[in-house]
Symmetry: C2
Subunit: 405 residues, 2 copies
């Protein structure tokens, strides 16, 4: 990491010219904030990435349409109801809430985006949501990022925020973000809503490409349970309040901006995995020596999604047999007699079987750690792929056996 | 089902000319039978199907080689150790145990097959296994099927046996089988060992094709946890003791034989799913109206493997949102606004959203049943696919978090 990038506290309101707030609409629970509002003082350049699930929630469809302009100024977000599988009425409902927010903020309706998370298949309680908008608008403040980050939580146990600061053209540029997500997490995003802000000036095309690259190396490389949501959303607003010359690939600070953005998204992705539903361990899985990048990705993904692997981690069991088994059915080319496996650099498997000097007690000590790395070396080529995942505990089953429709 | 096929009690020793037994080798636990021996009085026509995992256990590799001849007479099976990920030594070890069994039975070594199930990555304790062979040979009997079926269990809570009887050419033909498997169950077979016997005379090519078709519609359509094992094995021995004219596709009783075989494999597959590790519910998932058979298969499989779907079943929650979400990311073509979903024929979803007259309490009563069906209708074509699966409980995590290397 460049030492020119400084971590700071805060989230979406850390950059200049952004205000946020939270309000209680009583969507699912009576006594908690479940609406968040994020507003830029001026129209912002905007880019978004969304779920690749064929079943897309209404707010996703609406954002995809509105982001074609590459401009936005406000985002209205609710938890408690995903407005997914709600048919054409769902889209009308999402539009109605953005109309109400636009009116209250005195903005054109096309500049208001929307995000929803929560139960699938239940009509959005539009009236409740609209009734909460005036309070959310009244509460907007330069320090509202915290409240907004808490309002978008569902089964999350902690709010997830991050921000960094660096210099561009002698101006201080700040990048911030907030994120929610703890279950239904799988590459090609997660049941994850992520909202990023920056006061950098940046061209629309550059913003899109930087966001795409950054998500590819962060949110697209995490997995909690292998389920890909209908609502996954990452939106980045850049309002130019920092006063720098617009960033683009020709600007000398372009690499710095990309690094800062990658840092933010990776940090938020890590927070999502480590807060995975019922998770007790956060594991970095690397497959290297694969014939092709696709082979590396398939093997890493199969390992990260294997319920048998995840439950063995929960049990603190260095059950590398399940790891090699998952790589074996992943579709990746591999020669079982060439595979090496190491935990936190400590080799457990050499040439497909127990490594010489294999010590179960040493490995068990590593598996008892809250975070560790698992490296699977195929020795067939040069490609590698790294993913972040967590274990699967009884608590996960308890949470998801009772999170009712 | 044809009324000419009669269910009878018994398993692999129900057909004439087969003997079986069990013995204790102390492979993983000191005081249980963990070795099973199955022997035909005469050389039998033999066919087998095995895991498609790229990591294949030594006994799988050995059986694949020996079954090229299409003949076999005995099978030596052990639980407690899978002899998988054990390198070239693993293959030598499997061969050594078949040599010992062949010597004790006075048979050519090539006619002895082998199956192993249990922990992966630990060298097979060959000496222990070989030491138990004389006791197994001495115990061989016409009623030994029960003992053998119990000896091959690992996390299974019940032994799995089945047998049927029917007439061919005026002779009584019997088909029997035993099976083990409760975890790591996923299409293209399971951590599943299945041994089938029949006293029918049948040509080698006909035996192979009947077995392939039968497995495709039974063991390849069950899923417990989405993990595909290194050891999956289905072997069918036909010794001709019934004295019928050899069966083949031109024989008038060929459809009857195929039906009987399908019945046996489907029954054993059902027993495996209903005994899934920690399972409390057995669910039949059908996707119909798909554009292509592959679309139907993908959607059914994604639903059956979705941890969020399986945990909601455990919780008795008719969370159809998770069902449609899984279908959405399966890769199958679907139009969310055309999808219907029903539980035990009771419609929950019509055109992608809550069906008119949706009653949560009615659906909850269905979800409380030990077995129910879930039908997802895509309304895009004519293809359908049915799978059997189970829920995922806290007990599953407990079992697999503690089943140590």
């Amino acid at each position: 990491m460049s030492r020119h990038i400084q971590e700071i506290t805060g989230g979406v309101t850390a950059p200049a010219g952004f205000r946020a707030s939270a309000a209680a609409a009583g969507i699912k629970y009576p006594d908690r904030n479940d609406v968040a509002l994020l507003v830029s003082d001026t129209p912002a350049t905007a880019a978004g990435l969304f779920t690749t699930n064929r079943v897309k929630a209404a707010p996703v469809l609406l954002c995809q349409t509105r982001l074609k302009r590459g401009r936005a100024q406000a985002i209205l977000i609710n938890s408690g109801n995903a407005n997914a599988c709600t048919g054409p009425q769902g889209l009308l409902d999402s539009k109605a809430t953005t109309r109400a927010a636009a009116a209250a903020l005195n903005l054109p309706v096309e500049s208001v985006l929307v995000g929803s998370t929560g139960t699938i298949g239940v009509p959005l309680p539009v009236d409740k949501l609209i009734k909460a908008i005036p309070a959310a608008v009244a509460a907007l403040s330069r320090t509202g990022g915290d409240a907004a980050a808490r309002a978008i939580m569902t089964t999350d146990t902690v709010d997830k925020q991050t921000a960094v600061r660096f210099q561009v053209d002698g101006r201080t540029v700040t990048l911030g973000g907030m994120c929610k997500g703890a279950g239904m997490i799988e590459p090609n995003m997660a049941t994850m809503l992520c909202f990023l802000t920056t006061d950098a000036a940046i061209s629309p095309a550059a913003l899109r490409s930087a966001l795409r690259e950054s998500v590819e190396h962060s949110f697209n490389r995490i997995s909690i349970d292998g389920d890909m949501s209908t609502n996954d959303t990452v939106i980045l607003l850049a309002n130019g309040a920092a006063g720098n010359r617009p960033l683009n690939p020709a600007h000398p600070a372009w690499p710095l901006f990309r690094e800062a953005l990658n840092r933010i998204t990776l940090d938020l992705a890590r927070r999502v995995v480590c807060d995975g539903e019922g998770a007790t361990k956060c594991v970095t899985v690397t497959v290297d020596g694969a014939r092709t990048p696709d082979d590396a990705r398939r093997a890493a993904r199969a390992i990260c999604n294997s319920l048998l692997v995840k439950t063995s981690w929960f049990g603190g069991d260095p059950n590398w047999g399940r790891v090699i088994c998952a790589a074996g059915y992943s579709g990746a080319r591999l020669d079982p007699d060439k595979v090496d496996i190491a935990y936190d650099g400590k080799r457990a498997v050499k040439n497909g079987r127990r490594a010489p000097g294999f010590s179960l007690s040493t490995l068990e000590k590593i598996l008892a750690r809250k975070t560790f790395t698992l490296t699977v070396s195929l020795h067939l080529g040069q490609a590698s792929h790294t993913m972040l995942t967590c274990d699967c505990s009884e608590e996960y089953v308890k949470i998801n056996g009772s999170y009712t429709t």
